[in-house]
């Protein structure tokens, strides 16, 4: 199925900036190119300020690039609005954010928030929606009684699971995970990482995993891209890159993290 399209995501020479005036243009992303194959899990490593989150926002469509092209499943999408994207792609892009508490409406139950994407899409009947939501909740490893709880009654790890469920319930092609485990404790982080590995087997999606933690990326991802000051300095198979980094910056990063040896 996914074999037809080799590259699920292709980013060519992207420039992005937050400043509106042309005179003081400062690029957050500069001449960035990236290719992501279908079905793979790409780890994106970068330190703070390197433009990781900007890239995520660019791909999901929250911001528009100044120049450059983004192809998603072969279609140019950089100029499509969020709504147009939803119309055009049955299975689109979803995202999981860093702070789990911030990604939920604090005044709505988990169940309702899980069901909402399906309600909006209106393909299913109400009972089907609820059944699917409950199924998804189960899939992310939470019992049914969480269905009627409010976000603040859940721990960070549990909420991050729900966040994964919310993203995956619409069966996206591509999941962008923006530092989903960096605010979690080690033991909880392990659970979420396990869950992602698990879900990748059950649901069919590619994953762009953004992190500053090399260990996590090494653990989870197939390929890795290293982002430094708005451009990709190195991209390749995880093991190759970690064992034999070509770029000076990458080398420094890996030795600092204690992964070199």
């Amino acid at each position: 199925m996914t074999g037809e399209l080799q590259n699920i995501l292709e980013i060519n020479n992207i420039y992005a900036s937050y400043s509106t005036s042309l005179r003081k243009l400062e690029f957050v992303l500069e001449d960035l190119s990236l290719v992501m194959k279908s079905g793979e899990c790409l780890g994106m490593i970068g330190e703070s300020g390197s433009g990781k989150t900007t890239l995520a926002n660019l791909i999901t469509g929250f911001i528009k690039p100044i120049s450059g092209k983004i192809h998603f499943r072969g279609q140019e999408i950089q100029n499509l609005s969020l709504r147009q994207r939803i119309k055009q792609f049955n299975r689109g892009i979803q995202m999981v954010f860093q702070d789990p508490y911030d990604s939920f409406n604090p005044k709505m139950t988990i169940g309702k928030q899980l069901m909402e994407p399906l309600e909006i899409r209106k393909f299913l009947s109400n009972s089907e929606i609820e059944a699917k939501a409950r199924y998804t909740l189960e899939q992310v490893g939470l019992s049914a009684d969480y269905f009627s709880r409010y976000p603040h009654q859940l721990s960070g790890g549990q909420l991050q699971r729900v966040a994964l469920g919310c993203a995956l319930i619409v069966e996206p092609c591509l999941l962008i995970a923006d530092e989903p485990v960096s605010s979690l404790d080690v033991s909880v982080q392990a659970q979420v990482l396990d869950l992602i590995i698990d879900l990748r087997k059950k649901f069919d999606f590619s994953c762009l995993f953004i992190s500053h933690d090399l260990a996590v990326v090494y653990h989870l991802c197939d390929t890795v891209a290293v982002l430094n000051q708005g451009s990709i300095v190195e991209q390749g198979n995880v093991e190759e890159v970690f064992q034999n980094p070509q770029n000076v910056y990458t080398r420094q990063l890996i030795s600092d993290s204690g992964y070199g040896d």
């Binding site: 080690v186 033991s187 392990a190 590995i197 260990a215 090494y218 204690g258 992964y259």
Partner: protein, 325 residues
């Protein structure tokens, strides 16, 4: 001024510390720890383990509404829980230096860096402005800050995270404290800066002969830095030992599982861990082993009694009935 206090066997000795909130929640249940002069001691635990609160209790900066309910803290054999606020002011910043977790929140945003570092000197010494300035610049250079004259004129928000952390360290060490408390100083930093800060703390420990209490949730930095490690679980230390012992041969199930849950090259692509999730966040008094509900090797006694520290090896202790001989 230089009193010969190094005779004390332990520079810091905490005995049965218990910290409660206004609502009666036990944030720290029963922490005892000791630091010898010149030693770097790590305090490791996940969030909610009470490591930060213990540190604040030791440093005397507990927020309003949270107070020490029980226990003693000896600094150079003097119980600092019982001294007046004025006395306390003389110790803080002078004999005890503190490095905080979030440098951006720990600096007054409206005051220039130089003045903030200088404030410590102003409070504790009678040096002339000129002398103070020289010492501020000297210390700033000592923590690897460059271009210090200019930097001293900056405001905290104009600095990078690494620079801010260094400023905090400079502030903590400028009076050559005997004890340096570092509360997760690297958590908010990038990988490359992280290792530099670790090196810096090592250097300070070495060159200034300061003992260090290093608090972290991150075993990789603890491994690099500490001589001895306390592992904290829900406000109670569950395992103590030399770093080597803890990391290589963890005995308590909690430490074991925790170490296992850290991704490592060997475990790539595999499932990480089987530790059960915490079901609830219990804040009442501890009557049994708190880890019992998650422990894979739990047995009846665990649910009934609170285990003491049992000796395993030289300097290696664990609070688990498995070692009750």
């Amino acid at each position: 001024m230089q009193q010969d206090l190094t005779k004390a066997e332990y520079i810091l000795k905490v005995e049965h510390l218990k910290v409660v909130s206004a609502q009666g929640a036990e944030l720290v249940r029963d922490v005892s720890l000791k630091i010898k002069p010149g030693e770097i001691v790590g305090l490791v635990g996940e969030s909610g383990s009470g490591k930060s609160i213990s540190t604040m209790a030791i440093a005397g900066i507990l927020p309003e509404g949270i107070s020490i309910a029980q226990g003693k803290i000896f600094f150079n054999d003097r119980d600092i829980t019982r001294i007046s606020a004025q006395e306390r002011c003389k110790i803080n910043g002078n004999k005890i230096g503190i490095i905080y977790q979030d440098a951006s929140q720990s600096l007054n945003p409206l005051i220039r860096i130089g003045r903030q570092i200088d404030e410590v000197l102003k409070i504790h010494t009678d040096l002339s402005p000129q002398e103070r300035r020289d010492r501020v610049y000297g210390t700033m250079r000592a923590v690897n800050l460059s271009n210090v004259e200019k930097l001293a004129q900056r405001y905290p928000h104009e600095l990078s995270g690494g620079q801010r952390q260094r400023v905090l360290i400079a502030m903590a060490i400028i009076n050559n404290p005997e004890l340096l408390i570092a509360d997760e100083p690297t958590t908010a930093l990038d990988v490359s800066v992280k290792s530099q800060i670790i090196e810096l703390i090592k250097l300070i420990n070495f060159s200034r002969k300061a003992s260090v209490l290093y608090i972290s949730h991150d075993f990789s930095t603890v491994k690099k830095l500490c001589d001895r490690v306390y592992v904290l679980y829900q406000g109670i230390p569950v395992e103590v030992g030399a770093t080597e012992q803890i990391i290589k041969r963890p005995q308590h199930m909690y430490t074991k599982l925790l170490l296992e849950s850290i991704p490592s090259p060997e475990k790539r692509g595999q499932k990480l861990l089987t530790m059960k999730a915490r079901t609830r966040d219990y804040r009442g008094p501890a009557v049994n082993c708190l880890f019992a509900e998650r422990c894979p090797k739990v047995f009846e006694r665990c649910r009934q009694e609170l285990p003491d520290m049992f000796k395993i090896d030289k300097g290696h202790q664990a609070a688990c009935f498995l070692f009750d001989k």
